[in-house]
């Protein structure tokens, strides 16, 4: 079973895979959304602005209830993760998304899928995980100070216990890369495989409940990623922790 994305072609040595194409489609959708909303933004909101405002308000209020006034710099990150992941996940749930084939020199008679869920590529989920963790640490240094940040990992108070706790904290931070990236990747990749199995078993009717299920997974995974980022950013930027 192939886990990685399929290579479609290369541009100046850079591999263009089907997940890269989907990522670019996600970018286009997001930029179009930004253009529509930023152009039509008004005190009396239109339909699109209403939807974006509802989502934005939900995350802003949730962040505010958790982090208080620190929500001003936390929630844009949280909302960015949510929007990018949810659009990328939902785009992959369009029926027939993977049915469009692309012929390459190395592909067989059926070719390879032109589109594949961007979040079923570990490269993307790991990039998102790295961005989340690095941004969290950057905000921690910026808002709690370098001294406070370092003492989370290295402290000489009650040497033996807290040094051990510091090491655990460090391991915990490394584990975040794995938990963030593999949770999202695993869920979406598994969903993709389940859907392709259902389509191959009986393309009419049988995939329908699974589409509903995958839509839920797509939404829940985006929320989980965003909420975890919010939670870690809150903990790391709080001086009392």
């Amino acid at each position: 079973m192939q886990i990685g994305p399929d290579l479609l072609f290369t541009i100046a040595g850079f591999p263009i895979t089907n997940t890269v194409v989907t990522t670019l489609i996600t970018d286009v959708i997001l930029i179009t959304l930004v253009l529509i909303v930023s152009k039509s933004v008004a005190l009396k909101p239109g339909k699109m602005q209403n939807i974006i405002e509802s989502v934005s308000d939900y995350f802003r209020e949730t962040t505010e209830s958790l982090a208080g006034e620190r929500s001003s710099f936390i929630y844009p990150w949280v909302l960015s993760f949510f929007l990018f992941i949810v659009i990328s996940n939902l785009a992959a749930q369009i029926p027939g998304f993977e049915s469009i084939r692309f012929h390459t020199s190395s592909s067989g008679h059926h070719g390879v899928a032109l589109f594949r869920a961007a979040t079923s590529d570990l490269n993307l989920t790991l990039a998102l995980a790295v961005t989340s963790v690095v941004a969290t640490h950057y905000l921690s240094v910026k808002h709690t100070g370098i001294k406070s940040y370092i003492t989370r990992f290295i402290t000489f108070k009650m040497f033996s216990i807290f040094l051990f706790v510091g090491i655990l904290e460090f391991v915990n931070e490394l584990a975040k890369f794995i938990s963030f990236s593999f949770r999202l990747f695993g869920n979406i990749f598994a969903g993709e495989k389940v859907m392709s199995t259902m389509y191959s078993l009986c393309p009419f009717g049988l995939p329908l409940p699974f589409i509903g299920f995958e839509l839920m997974v797509a939404l829940i995974q985006a929320i989980v990623f965003a909420m975890l980022t919010m939670s870690f950013m809150h903990i790391m930027t709080d001086k009392s922790h």
């Binding site: 192939q2 886990i3 990685g4 994305p5 850079f14 591999p15 895979t17 997940t19 890269v20 990522t23 970018d27 997001l30 930029i31 959304l33 930004v34 253009l35 909303v37 930023s38 933004v41 008004a42 005190l43 974006i52 405002e53 934005s56 308000d57 844009p76 990150w77 909302l79 960015s80 929007l83 990018f84 590529d121 570990l122 490269n123 993307l124 790991l126 990039a127 998102l128 790295v130 961005t131 990747f185």
Partner: protein
């Protein structure tokens, strides 16, 4: 590293996804969240302003109501005073008019009495005079047949004196 490559990890793709996402975050922050935040803040400001205006209007209305009640109370007190003074004045006028009317009626009665009394005296005198004349004529007639002129004159004079005395008394 080998394990992660089995999952399809490739440095170039990873870096592409990383940079791509950072660009998306930048675009979202600059062109979506900022205008949204600006508009939400503006809306929040307007709502707060509207609430403040409503609060002010409510306070102004309450003040106006209190002012109205105060003016009404003052007006009521004024009206009560005026009514009381009018009542006193009306009573006084009534009493004065009554006293005047009483006085006038008594004056009229008095005048009428005097006039009637004068009239009565006048009538008495006239009746006296008439009775003297009639008596004189009767006596003259009777005496002319019985007495001489001299006796007649004496009797007449005597009778006239007696009549005069009677009338005078």
């Amino acid at each position: 590293m080998e394990i992660i490559q089995k999952f399809g990890f490739e440095t170039k793709l990873f870096l592409f996804q990383l940079i791509n996402f950072l660009i998306i975050v930048f675009i979202l922050k600059k062109f979506l969240f900022k205008p949204l935040k600006r508009i939400l803040d503006e809306r929040k400001r307007r709502i707060e302003q509207s609430l403040q205006d409503a609060e002010n209007a409510k306070a102004a209305l309450e003040n106006a109501d209190a002012e109205r009640k105060k003016i009404l109370a003052v007006a009521k007190v004024g009206a009560d005073k005026l009514m009381a003074s009018v009542k006193v004045s009306a009573d006084e006028t009534k009493e004065k008019t009554l006293a005047e009317a009483k006085f006038r009626s008594q004056q009229i009665i008095e005048e009428a009495k005097n006039k009637a009394s004068a009239e009565f005296e006048n009538m008495n005198k006239q009746i006296g005079k008439m009775s003297v004349d009639v008596s004189n004529k009767i006596l003259s007639k009777v005496l002319s047949e019985l007495f001489t002129e001299e006796e007649k004159q004496k009797i007449m004079s005597r009778a006239m004196e007696m009549i005069d005395e009677k009338i005078t008394n």
